[in-house]
Symmetry: C2
Subunit: 480 residues, 2 copies
Amino acid sequence: MENKNNAITSQSQDFAQWYTDVVRKAELMNYSSVKGFINYLPYSYAIWEEIQNYFNKRIKEELGAQNVYLPLVIPMSMFNKEKEHVEGFAPEALIATIGGAKTLEDPLVIRPTSEILFSDLYKNIVSSYRDLPIAYNQWCSVVRWEKTTRPFLRGSEFLWQEGHCLFETEEEARENVRKALEIYDDLGRDLLAIPFLKGKKSEQEKFAGAVATYTIEALMPDGKALQSGTSHYLGQGFAEAYGIQFQGRDTKLQIPHQTSWGVSTRLLGALIMVHGDDNGLVLPPRVAPTQVVIVPVRQQAEGVLDACKEIAANLKKQGIRVKLDDNEARTPGWKFAQYEMKGVPLRIEVGPRDLANGEAVLTKRVTGEKKVMKIEELEAAVAPLLDEIHNDMYQKAQKMLEAHITEVKTIDELNAALDNVGGYALLAYDGTPETELKIKELTKGGTARCIYKMLPEDTDIVDVVSGKKAIQIAYFARAY
Amino acid sequence: MENKNNAITSQSQDFAQWYTDVVRKAELMNYSSVKGFINYLPYSYAIWEEIQNYFNKRIKEELGAQNVYLPLVIPMSMFNKEKEHVEGFAPEALIATIGGAKTLEDPLVIRPTSEILFSDLYKNIVSSYRDLPIAYNQWCSVVRWEKTTRPFLRGSEFLWQEGHCLFETEEEARENVRKALEIYDDLGRDLLAIPFLKGKKSEQEKFAGAVATYTIEALMPDGKALQSGTSHYLGQGFAEAYGIQFQGRDTKLQIPHQTSWGVSTRLLGALIMVHGDDNGLVLPPRVAPTQVVIVPVRQQAEGVLDACKEIAANLKKQGIRVKLDDNEARTPGWKFAQYEMKGVPLRIEVGPRDLANGEAVLTKRVTGEKKVMKIEELEAAVAPLLDEIHNDMYQKAQKMLEAHITEVKTIDELNAALDNVGGYALLAYDGTPETELKIKELTKGGTARCIYKMLPEDTDIVDVVSGKKAIQIAYFARAY
């Protein structure tokens, strides 16, 4: 498609600038006066609300989760108890030291994540195996003091959900971790039209304080990976550090097994990049705040506006999010460009000539493909068409992902894959943090995104960095 | 009703302790380890979600409002610009001074309210009358460093919504303020079964930075008033302080008119107090997380559990929030007390003898009234019964409110009314902050909750404190 909007840098010219242009021009966000913090404008927040609706339903029904709200702040004295966790989060903490015009004796860390607060809660409400399992979730913002920020991708404050669960047994906890990841994967496929690679993080890349971290990773058009959600088996470390115990079925005191899982407004960044093009956003129908825009052409002509209103009313009745733009101060051409920029999945035009034939013109945002349709058939056709658009978008992204997975055997091949193909390269290695750090250095930022598979004990594959026996194959990529 | 649950202090014995007992025993909240901060547990958060659903629908449809999310923090340098506002909020500010292990040059105030942040946003997105009106709303938590706190009523952090709107004209802005207050009033009547007094705040009691504040005030059973929501006409003060301007229809630069309005989790405090009794919570059906609980009696007896399951399935199909408690480890008697404590509006019991007659026993939580009904009639009867319960609860609270409004002419009468009747006393006065402060002193805390009416210019009523001419009659009360 031709780039109709001069205001956006093209992707091929400068992908990063294209991204910045789109988030601003499509009115998804703007920069606040607080450095590193953004304003989530209605157009992005409405997408976030769709994600919330989907996710709330799934976790309530399938994980028995209940929503709660815990404090914004963690006393420093409490923050310091789980060692690995503190080391991971302390460097980017925002810390309040003054309250009510007095210096606080125990400064307060603005929550970067809430494992500690949930552990502190669980210590007080769990005493018997009868109190388990517990599955709580909260929607909130968290703060991580970042030096370099990008809208939705990395910021000093972002919105997310964090699920925190507690179980009698490791088995149940691991099952919960698996299920949460499954729901994230479904959310990608069913709602965002984004395919993810899913898998376990390496030791080097796992969450600070976790026994094991599982991740969903998306491919961006610039060849970089985007970690889009994580699900952690925390083991008993937090429970031990924060004193959570319960009387087991055998009447003995036991330590529960804990999990946590989260997705954030980073998903909006994924959505923008995976589907967007040189005309702006392309939104998958199920999260699009406006799914169908109706643009009357020569709307003063007899019957045109009435026909548009009737189409709008009929679609609205079906629960389709439809907008009729009858603003006379703007030309149809201006509106076409505007709603392309905003990524509205389907446009319906009706002009006097169409109307004379009882027809409307439908245009799919993702392909630009046009279709003339009888107005009387619209009511039944639009919902399936939106599903078709969703499926096409997912298939396209899926093909893109598959085309960007390369098997490599050496660091040279790895570099060639990351430089020339982009995306993910499958490399066998010894699984150690040392090797990963070395690879990161040798590839200018390539990291293990997740493990593809473990190798058999008797493998003869050798790690090309350390010379030791390889133990696993991982997807390596440069990442956001 | 007899107090079946020894764990709760009775209201007549110690109302404050009753409140504390109920919020804990009904598992609405518990105290976090962070002083002044609470954990909102699933049972209270689910009620909050019902309030969110109701309110989101109303403001989106009727005020054209859109949800957004703005930063958690306000730079101190920005905070200091609107003088009255700063003076109101600075004393209870929580201030972050360290970020990323470095001292911040410009400390960050954790938002106590977001007029400043919205003004800063509007400055950047408004340039023409075509950009107006704007109606944004956000759901978030705010922090106010309080010395004495009570769950849901006063805390260092609470959840709320804050609407912030911008208009071309004062008239439109004032209309928006009025409509928002109307929606709050409806929310009380239609959802929470709480009647409010509505009206304008006095100069002394208005919001820091507002031209005029309107309020909804509820009556608590201990005779105190509870401010439950406010809607402010902010005039042009914030716009001037933060530099918001637009080109008007006359092409001249103009300053817009601003409003803000909010309700918080204080509504949960109102809900608990207005309806609760010595057996615990009494929830109005439309916000109750569980609307109907089904308790099988002798559930091993043939057919009992199956009948309960069928009733549950039929009610669920209608969208009624129903819970079947078939836990064999607990007796029906224990369950009755438990769900009374939790305030579930309607209980349905089915035992073998009921079943033999094709019957179930229904008990209304609010009155304890029992009703035997044919099981086959339940499906059609329950939804209307829930509405009936709602209406009864509202009427009861309305009568209570009406019975606690006294007209008084002197400070002695005012004191007698506040001491002996409780609730609100209507007193004419001169409208000055000085007189209100004096009245507060003379009545041990009585304040003007809202203005009942303005007096005519030629009134001969004299203010009994200042001896000046009275200008208005206000509702005075001791308040939370």
